[in-house]
Point group: C2
Chain length 378, copies 2
């Protein structure tokens, strides 16, 4: 043989406490679900489970949208699915940028041949409603308004209800990134009137990474169906994906669904449904309050002002005297604790402490505060 077989043993990962920007700690129930026997993607038993996932996701998103399902790929693919389907070449798209993921939206719009109009806010601030209102007035014919509800790179939450209302007033569709908010803070798709939204499995749903729950309004589907140009992605073309995830009639094979990861997502959503959204939101809020008190008692300060602060993602300034990489390395090697580094403009300047899903619990808050205190020698 040209290339010989490498001798590599089974991989046994260390047991970490995950308090970065995701993945979050995964409950044993979900890990147990992941290892159940694999069945076929067209098996009647599997199709019944698909219907349950759709129903559980409608609850999580608070929507009656029939087209609500998990994309067979991570959140970035969920984002791309929204843009490639809803944006046609030449469409004017208003993008709100206040962190890494707004920039990624801009990249998506460009690659779809859309014409971007950008409203920028400082990293760590929420999207300015006034600026968006002005931009909608200044730029006639905006087809889509796109914004990030919960910026994972900063921990700022924007006012999705007001942004969606502005879009409706100006006849634009809305695309919302709720990767970090779904399950942690209210995401009210129907009440707000959002047309397309995408999330991730590994944040406040506490599932393993790799799936992106999405939801599309009926008018979004109508827009996709009436496109002049075909969707540029075959894998993400809703017209084709519909044939596999649609609820009525015979399912058509599109691609092979990731069976076992979907078992995991199903269990994550069952857990959320058992707890109830309001309880999950309160728990994230309560754990955040405790963490905040503890961090402030260590002299640490928050990047985001209190009114826009996400309970599930706590960005704090790294104290001047502290070596970022060395401190995070110590947390990992001595405490098996993962917290997040800064991204983009905030790299080296902030830490991002996640309290997402199963990580938003008393044990984690206490453990994290203890570990950070030790590393900062307080």
């Amino acid at each position: 043989m040209l290339v010989n077989n490498p001798v590599i043993p089974a991989f046994i990962p260390p047991k970490r406490t995950l308090m970065g920007p995701g993945p979050s700690d995964v409950p044993q129930r979900i890990l147990d679900a992941m290892q159940r026997p694999t069945i076929g993607h067209l098996d009647p038993a599997f199709q019944e489970m698909m219907e349950q996932i759709k129903s559980l996701l409608r609850y999580a998103f608070q929507t009656n949208n029939s087209l609500t399902f998990p994309v067979s790929a991570p959140g970035s693919a969920g984002m791309e699915m929204c843009f490639v389907n809803l944006v046609e070449p030449g469409d004017k798209v208003l993008i709100c940028i206040n962190g890494v993921f707004g920039n990624r939206m801009l990249e998506n719009v460009k690659r779809c041949g859309g014409v971007p109009v950008v409203v920028e806010d400082d990293w760590g601030k929420p999207v300015s409603i006034a600026k968006v209102e002005q931009a909608l007035r200044d730029n006639a014919g905006i087809k889509v308004l796109a914004f990030v509800h919960a910026e994972t790179s900063t921990g700022a939450q924007s006012d999705a209800r007001s942004l969606a209302a502005l879009a409706q007033k100006h006849g634009a569709f809305t695309i919302m990134d709720c990767v970090t908010s779904l399950g942690g803070t209210p995401v009210l798709i129907d009440e707000w009137g959002i047309d397309a939204a995408y999330s991730g499995s590994q944040k406040c749903l506490s599932c393993t990474p790799g799936l992106s729950p999405v939801t599309f309004s009926d008018r979004a589907i109508a827009k996709v169906k009436s496109r002049k140009m075909p969707v540029q992605s075959w894998f993400l073309d809703l017209n084709l994906v519909l044939g596999y995830w649609q609820s009525s009639g015979k399912r058509t094979y599109h691609h092979t669904a990731p069976i076992n990861p979907l078992y995991g997502l199903h269990e994550a959503l069952v857990i959320l449904s058992e707890e109830g959204l309001e309880s999950a939101w309160s728990r994230h809020r309560a754990m955040h309050e405790q963490l905040k008190t503890g961090l402030e008692s260590l002299g640490l300060t928050f990047v985001v002002e209190a009114s826009a602060r996400l309970p599930q993602l706590n960005s704090i300034w790294i104290p001047d005297a502290v070596d970022d990489a060395a401190a995070r390395g110590k947390l990992l090697s001595e405490f098996n604790l993962e917290i997040g580094a800064g991204l983009g403009a905030l790299a080296g300047k902030v830490w991002r402490i996640g309290l997402m899903g199963y990580s938003a619990r008393q044990h984690n808050v206490d453990f994290c505060l203890k570990a950070i205190r030790r590393v900062l020698h307080k």
Copy 2:
């Protein structure tokens, strides 16, 4: 709440024997790996595992290509990654179509703005080398030759070595679909001189579905890096993905990798490396010979002529008197045995019996023959 929480219990799948076109039976070792503790996608321990996966995949593909890794999505996304990166608008692409997946390649080329030139062969036949040679002569300036090594819709294997040699002679790049061949019959990327190839986790690797191993030659990477137009997909842009999967220096966050599914793929590749490729190929061949003898003794006949027949995917004509759906339904409900239906032009006419990976073993062959005998009342 607008939408109430549905009361849905945990999903306990039935235990099936998977002998369709994939997913194949997943060994317990792989399922066990899937439920190990989730760690972060930038964790040093995870990055070490990524390097091992790359090394194990190089063995499976028989290549020294440095860019050899699993795409975080199913095989259809692996296909799309090859086309969106290697095809630029206006590029002439020769597509060989002899089943469903050649047609999917054609869809991809159109959506990339490529100019397709099609060579068609009957479903069930291998790609005609003579026709491809003629098409390369008749159409000057073909940039890429694309073909399916092992057509999952029919069970026909094409002569990849000769096709790649023709592409090289005419200065074209090659894209090869080896979704169903990798691990089951020889796939010799470097020896044949293939520039880009994609596979799937759930066929002869016997992992759960959802990941697509890919490999790119250095000259393919050079072509991607020198593109005039940006790659139309952000999620699949190799220029960006390289930053996360490249081996040297600091890894850059691109998207969150599907951690636990990658544990599963790692274990699947360790198993393949332990067995050795030659042994795996022989085992697939031996199990196929037994199945063939048994099926023929039941009066069943093969769709594909012996010389082009894939051992791991056995397409047989459904006897006239037999109701396709009823018979497959009975296999599933009475024997918990899944076999594959016909796709596209062969729907209702053929069954596809998979002997892939862990499903290519004595127990499965005996069990499948017994079940089919009962259902056919022989």
